[in-house]
Amino acid sequence: MWKWLHPYANPEVSYHFAGKLLPWLSALAALFLSIGLVWALLFAPADYQQGDSFRIFYIHVPAASLSMGIYVGMAIAAFSSLVWQLKLANASAAAMAPIGATFTAIALITGAAWGKPMWGTWWIWDARLTSELILLFLYMGVIALHSAFEDKDLAGKAAGILTLVGVVNIPIIKYSVEWWNTLHQGSTVSKMGKPSMSIDMLWPFLFCFIGFALLVSVIICIRFRTEILARNSIRPWVRDLVNSHVAYNTTFKEHM
């Protein structure tokens, strides 16, 4: 397995591999998201209690679970970067942080817009909402630390330690609805055994979820490539790549 993985520890190979994945992932993400969102908005049935406000669910739940999933991915990358000094792991952790922060913000905002008509309030300091807000602050701290040092390796170490400390928050978010009495409803989709959801609602949800997950992987690829370039700017292959890019752009302008 290590022999097979070894070439991907090479920044140049990883850069081009991520570039090759990009068009395929983008096409799949567009396909799943367009099917999922049209289904969720137009064809999924309204909830018998919550009416059409339930359609917020199709963004809120994927965004919230991805905000936690990205954090776990970032923590695994930060751990590998701290323990085995893998520079690419550091690059991928830095690539994931802004994406996770965006999805956390989406989860919080859609949650507020759903809470207002259902609970009568935009915000309440209950366990689920507060721990998700802490997740947003953790992401912001990680982003700030990644950009606080000129030396990317040092920045990665500082951000990695914060990431690993913040992992404590993930089970707190996940089980907050069971550990405390909260206004937030329990999980509907990932209940052990059968999901307590009608099949007409589950299918559009799955399309939305997979679509958002694919979108996350697209943006990770883009940002991962940027981070690789930033960390390898003096390598010959980056020089060649940048030169060919500049040459292409100048010929393009001359022809305009």
């Binding site: 406000s53 802004p98 905002i109 859609t110 943006i219 883009i222 940002r223 490539r225 700017s233 940048v242």
Partner: protein, 71 residues
């Protein structure tokens, strides 16, 4: 299809404001993230290119100076 007319679709059974607020804010945030990620990639290439040009110019100037000193 769950809605009889376009206005019913916009109205979302009375929850239109909240539903469209959620979908709108999510779309804007994701569009900003994608745009900033793409432009960040272009920006780093530009930065590396301009740094390289500067270094190349400095090296050329140094070589020229050394040549002049020799002659």
């Amino acid at each position: 299809m769950q809605f009889d007319s376009f206005s019913a679709f916009i109205n979302m059974g009375g929850y239109g404001f909240y539903v469209w607020l959620s979908f709108g804010v999510s779309a804007v945030l994701l569009a900003l993230l994608i745009f900033s990620s793409k432009s960040g990639h272009q920006q780093i290439i530009k930065n590396i290119a301009s740094r390289q040009q500067r270094e190349d110019k400095l090296r050329q100037a140094r070589e020229l100076r050394e040549q002049n000193l020799k002659t």
